[in-house]
């Protein structure tokens, strides 16, 4: 077989080839990703601020308003995931749609929907916590350690 192969068109050494291929490989789109993350993440937080302000105008105090806004954003994130909209945003927004609490809601609904066919207990019920589980484990565990250290320092 090998004698039938055409002669190489590029007369370069493997080292030169490696150099050339690194040069021609598209630059990682880190900057573009960061710009998307900044605008989408910023926008979700700005919407959150509008909701907080509306709740404050409605008579809630700052903490209540912030808590209620978080619940509403979780609802919106879950609903948009069910409608298939949130994952479309996520294709561009990356961390901009993952890091806000709406992304937390998305991480709860996505696996639960995907594994719905495995039933309502081990499918939906268990998969709701695919990502939320680790988040709660590390978050709550850290808060307990913080509380204990705080107790002994004060």
């Amino acid at each position: 077989m090998s004698q039938n192969m055409r002669p190489p068109t590029l007369k370069i050494t493997p080292e030169e080839y490696k150099d050339l291929s690194t040069k021609l490989t598209p630059k990682p789109t880190v900057l573009k990703n960061c710009i998307w993350a900044f605008f989408v993440g910023g926008l979700i937080c700005a919407i959150g601020q509008v909701i907080i302000n509306l709740f404050v105008a409605g008579g809630l105090n700052q903490t209540q308003a912030s808590t209620a806004a978080t619940a509403l954003l979780i609802f919106l994130g879950a609903l948009l995931t069910g409608l298939g909209v949130y994952d479309e945003i996520g294709k561009y927004a990356g961390a901009g749609s993952i890091v806000p609490v709406t992304g937390f809601a998305n991480s709860i609904v996505s696996p639960a929907l995907e594994f719905k066919r495995e039933g309502y207990v081990m499918g939906v019920g268990a998969r709701l916590f695919t990502v939320a589980g680790p988040v709660l484990v590390y978050g709550i565990a850290t808060s307990i350690v913080v509380g204990i250290i705080y107790y002994f320092l004060h």
Binding site: P28, V30, N33, C34, A37, F38, V40, G41, G42, I44, C45, A46, G48, Q49, V50, I52, N53, A57, S66, T67, A69, T70, A71, L73, I74, F75, T81, G82, G94, A95, G96, V99, P100, V101, T102, G103, F104, A105, I108, V109, A112, L113, E114, K116, V124, L128, V131, A132, V135, L136, Y138, G139, T142, S143, I144, V146, G147, I148, Y151, H154
Partner: protein
């Protein structure tokens, strides 16, 4: 207009926090998944909250600091410390979950309802 107060700081602070998450994803191995990003943010927020470094961010950025998952971590740590001040050592166990109960319950309820009501796309 009152409704538009704090919007720009929230946008900027929230945007910067999300860029940190994007850099975590882009500059680490592919095995560092969105789940790892969320765990990093909740733990990081709790630690920064304990050190007293996250509160200024909330004061400057409002929802820009409270809506990202690091804000959830901050609420957990703040809840634990506040409860320790009120009720002693048991507060370390109860405070974090109590302070974030609405968010956790909302996530379970809405997550469950949406998963029941909708079917996967594609």
């Amino acid at each position: 207009m009152f409704v538009f107060r704090m919007i720009i700081p929230a946008f900027l602070v929230g945007g910067v926090i999300c860029v940190i998450g994007q850099l975590l994803m882009d500059l680490t191995k592919p095995s560092f998944t969105p789940a790892h990003v969320l765990v990093t943010f909740v733990t990081g927020g709790a630690i920064l909250g304990a050190l007293g470094w996250y509160k200024p961010l909330i004061e400057i950025g409002g929802a820009g600091a409270s809506v990202p998952l690091s804000g959830f971590g901050y609420s957990l740590a703040k809840g634990a410390m506040d409860a320790v001040s009120r009720e002693g050592l048991m507060g370390a166990l109860s405070g974090g979950v109590a302070a974030t109960a609405v968010g956790i319950a909302a996530a379970v309820l809405f997550g469950y309802l949406v998963s029941i009501a909708f079917n996967p796309k594609g």
